[in-house]
């Protein structure tokens, strides 16, 4: 392919997956074009059933695509799945550790599967246990773990062979807020070590807090892509809500025609300004009001959330879509 991007660790063109369900053909993934850059944290955001997991499983060599092409970690998905498997890690929603087996044993066995010697696998297991702060749990059966410990072990299993690319399928679903924060920290540390992380989530705050870039998928199609900041800005920019002491109309007239204001409205006695970048517009607004001797009474800067992006692209909020 001549469209290859050398910086991309994942590149797909028209990736499709069709399932046969009873007598119906279900299109789970309709045609996905993705480009994930080396070293970034890439988020795949969408409601349940949107095709996130199906796409992830195709890219991780677990499910053959029905159509389209993909290159993962510099290998062709269709012809070199074995090479890809050596270079990627994958942590599925169910995790992957056996409840009946001791955590450390699972890590050592996983290392052996990737070709490590017994000694090297044991050493690596100890490293991961320390890194993931599992010292207290490592020598117990996985069945006794808390949700957060189990999830950290699952991530450890995906990291045994130091993969360049790690897939995480809904890494924090079902975790309490504290465990969730620890998983986020762990993902950031992988990122700092240069690992590319591809994660799926249906939590907007997760995508927002963690990801360098995000793709929003709905009904098997990508509906938006970009940095969380860009995506939110594309919706409506930021919203400044303000009121002045005295005549609101004067403030409104003053500000409505400024070049940085995209749209202005008067609503319930306050002025609403839609601006491209709130942090740039704010000082200008303050200066203008000051110059016109208008005294500011209240001011508020509201940033649109990824939920606003999803709403704009799909006509539904993510919460509605998930229900």
């Amino acid at each position: 392919m001549d469209t290859q991007n050398p910086e991309a660790i994942i590149e797909t063109h028209g990736l499709r997956r069709v399932f046969q369900s009873r007598k119906r053909l279900v299109e789970a993934v309709v045609g996905v074009d993705l480009s994930v850059r080396r070293g970034e944290i890439f988020g795949f955001l969408g409601p349940n059933g949107a095709g996130k997991t199906t796409t992830l499983r195709m890219l991780a060599t677990l499910l053959p695509p029905s159509g389209g092409t993909a290159r993962v970690a510099a290998c062709d998905l269709a012809t070199q799945p074995d090479k890809i498997r050596e270079r990627i890690g994958y942590v599925g929603q169910a995790g992957g550790a056996d409840r009946e087996i001791v955590g450390r044993t699972e890590l050592v066995f996983q290392g052996r599967l990737y070709g490590l010697t017994v000694a090297a696998a044991k050493k690596r297991a100890s490293e991961l246990i320390e890194m993931l702060e599992l010292e207290g749990a490592a020598d117990r059966k996985v069945g006794t773990y808390s949700g957060g410990q189990k999830r950290r072990l699952d991530i450890g299993l995906g990291l045994v062979h130091n993969p360049q690319l790690l897939f995480l399928d809904e890494p924090t679903t079902g975790l309490d807020p504290q465990s969730r924060a620890r998983v986020w920290d762990e993902v950031r540390r992988m990122h700092d070590r240069g690992t590319t992380v591809f994660l799926t989530t249906h939590y907007l705050d997760e995508a927002d807090a963690l990801c360098d870039r995000v793709s929003i998928i709905d009904y098997g199609k990508i509906v938006a892509e970009g940095t969380p900041e860009d995506l939110k800005r594309a919706v409506a920019g930021d919203v400044v809500t303000l009121s002045v002491v005295g005549d609101q109309q004067r403030a409104f007239d003053l500000l409505r025609d400024q070049p940085f204001v995209r749209e202005a409205r008067m609503e319930n006695g306050v002025v609403l300004l839609y601006v491209d970048r709130g942090e740039v517009a704010m000082p200008a607004i303050l200066r203008l009001l000051d110059g016109a001797s208008l005294q500011l009474q209240t001011v508020e800067l509201h940033r649109p959330s990824l939920d606003d992006v999803f709403l704009r692209q799909t006509g539904r909020t993510l919460r509605e879509a998930a229900a």
Binding site: T61, L62, R85, G89, G92, A97
Partner: protein, 253 residues
Amino acid sequence: MKLLRDTWLVFGRYMSLLLHNPVWIALGVLQPLLYLILFAPLLKPISSMQGFGPGGAYNVFVPGLLVQLGMFGAAGVGFSLIAELRMGVIERLRVTPVSRVALLLGRALRDVISIVVQSLILILLALPFGLSIHAVGVIVVLLLIGLIGLLTASTAYAVALWARDENTYAPLIFTSTLPILLLSGVLLPLGFAPQWLRNIAAINPLSYAVDAARHIFNDNLGDPSVAKGVAIMVVLSVVAVAIGARQFGRAVA
């Protein structure tokens, strides 16, 4: 080389799981032992009837019991695989570069070892009852039972990977193994059977294994039916391993 290493690794994992739970080995021996104690004595009076075959009650009955052990012992192995599917273990293994054949063969060989050990225990326990067999015969019969175990376990894993839940797997596997066992003459020699039953048995591969086992216990190692029974089991095992490994490689939704 990689296949051998991978198979050994997978075998080691499942063997250690089994050894941590030896109660399963004991249960596997218990059922045939009950047959031996509570059912075999009933055969004594009819063992002289025409059609029962030579060798006395235990030398006719124990080979059948061993075949039954080989099959029933391996038919249920899919349950643990379904539990692993649910825990994501299988998916986690499939995403590593480990050989797909090893994923099947490693576990199936664990089952074979467990069945062979159970068979040996059963043979030793039957000796005081009046069973007689040569040391070489024991080795050949254990090989035969091991092959039946490999064939059944590989098939059971393939079915479990296809079915993906116990409610589909259990009826499928148990309603198919019982007629196969009954139509192979494990409980009583087919010498008693009416012609139509014998016709069906003739197309049942397992009846050739039972036949081979009885000849081995009759000190007839050189009989062509022994080589025939072993050969049929080898061919079917290879096919079953290939199908099972393919199921491990195939992605399932």
